[in-house]
Amino acid sequence: MRIQAGFRKERIDRGIKARTDDIFAIASCREILYLVGPRFLLIAALLIFPLLKSITGIYWQNVLMITATIALLALSWDLLHSVGLVSLGQALFFGAGAYATGYLNSKFGWSPVLAIPAATLLGALFSTALLYPVLRLRGIYFGLITFAVPMLLMRIIEATKILGGTEGISGLTPLPGITITLYIIIAVTLVCVYGYQRLFETDYGLVFKAIRDNDRSVIAAGFNIQLFKAQAVFLAALPATFAGAFLTHHYQFVGLPAFAMDYSVLPMASVIIGGPGSFIGAMLGAFIVVPLSEFLRTFGTLRIVIYSLVLLVFVVGLPQGLFHYLKRKYDQFERLVPIEEVEK
């Protein structure tokens, strides 16, 4: 005899998802909209926001600036994570880019047009060289080193009084108006998301993923994984050092706060909330973490309490991250299927 023992949830791809899986099978406007819609909405929102200065006020424009900065750092974190390297010190990259452009601009008078790209590259090379000896470490051991390095650099600058010491370097060349500035950093963020996603679709990117799954088998396939990890660190450093260099010119100042722990913690929180591995999730995460923190300022002392609770709800409720959750809801529907058990 069969008895009904309850229900289980079944997830099924929507018809439109199945039809649009293959890019050549697109037949209708509705299907094109299904594919392009979410991307278009995201990009449009990002492009329109800087134009709404009169409505949002300069304050929220600045919040967007910080958000995009954290998004770039979060993208960087997500790439490292995809190779199996957990970074607790994104501030290293940020600070390296920030100090590099500060030095080039103040000492040699390089304009930001030259100094920012140069600082992006130099900062990334510097960070890669610094982390190279510890790339063979894994998991928390690598994380602890990256945690210590920004603090170490901070103290070195403080003690030796190089690069302006505790005073920092001020009076740097400003960036053009906030609207153009925002468009530049938004464009860089979007290019970075796209670039990273494409990278991971190539065979070269597949090696990164493989190192995370089982580095021993990658060695046994004839790859020098130390070299691959170094390349990953360099590629991951680029958006982060750019963010550092860019924000430095925005503030016209670089100092010890460039190595602040915020730049290490917020990107990590962003990726965990947004969902690792997709890059777009990292970006979405930053767009929740940073504005939420600003929005809660009206709550005064309770701000941190509410902030922590919201983050907690996200982590517990959506452990795989917001992006993967939204994508699943978008692509699949759920239904309850009765479970039947055979009674003996």
Binding site: K209, V218, A220
Partner: protein, 254 residues
């Protein structure tokens, strides 16, 4: 060293602290030969393989490959010279589809060099390799996440991973462990074919009956020392091998 010696191990030793995992082992292997390494647990078989493939650096002794001293070379360099190995604890790349697991070795410096500029479609090569080691071509298994593979298939995948490198020497560390009788029976003819095609094989195994269908030479290790060497039938008749490894049970080869 004769012209067709492909691997020569000379006085190889490895100490882990005070433990002599491998102690002064020497042997030679000719091109196209199939060697079985047997011995009780902890006798140094896997360490032996790690020493040859560079995953562990020897305390003393040398390894020669095609007459070239490869002692102390990094494991990725040794692989690219043509010595591929499998792992006893085979772990696939969990988060990829099964066939993507083979893109990694197919994309390796060695495979790319051998393929020249015309590597064609790596995805197609991967599916083809899977088919060779016994995955059904038209099934959906190659496209499933590798994390969902049953153990027997993981082992086959591990073998395919070695073959993707087009190696001259294939070293298999307990390929049969954890495989059912029928799974082993399914893969044996394939190993015999590899041997007949002239690949040089080194196999570490506990399943002697099956092992001896493939190899034409065996050595037995005990406490890191070589206690017997020769044709498989001779090795299992050796008194010391019987005492330390086989017990009273008599295993007849082939």
């Amino acid at each position: 060293m004769s012209q067709d010696t492909i691997i020569k191990v000379a006085g190889l030793s490895k100490n882990f602290g005070g433990v002599k995992a491998v102690n002064g082992v020497s042997f030679e292997l000719k091109r196209g030969e199939a060697l079985g390494i047997i011995g009780p647990n902890g006798s140094g078989k896997s360490t032996m393989i790690n020493l040859i493939t560079g995953f562990v650096k020897p305390s003393s002794g040398k390894v020669f490959y095609n007459g070239r001293d490869i002692t102390g070379l990094s494991p990725d360099k040794i692989v690219n010279l043509g010595i591929a190995r499998s792992f006893q604890m085979a772990k696939p790349f969990y988060n990829m589809p099964v066939y993507k697991n083979l893109i990694i070795p197919l994309f390796s410096p060695r495979a790319r060099k051998l393929a020249g500029g015309r590597h064609g479609d790596r995805d197609e090569s991967a599916i083809h390799l899977l088919e060779e080691v016994g995955f059904e071509r038209d099934s959906h298994i190659p496209y499933k996440p590798a994390g969902s593979l049953p153990h027997g298939y993981v082992k086959r995948l591990e073998l395919a991973r070695c073959l993707a490198l087009e190696p001259d020497v294939i070293i298999l560390d307990e390929l049969f462990s954890g495989m059912s009788m029928s799974e082993v029976a399914g893969i044996l003819p394939f190993l015999e074919r590899l041997r007949d095609e002239g690949k040089t094989l080194i196999m570490v195994e506990h399943r002697l009956r099956e092992l001896f269908r493939v190899v034409d030479k065996a050595i037995c290790l005990n406490f890191g020392e070589k206690i017997a060497e020769g044709a498989p039938e001779e090795v299992v008749q050796n008194e010391e091998v019987k005492k330390s490894y086989l017990g009273s049970e008599v295993v007849s080869g082939a």
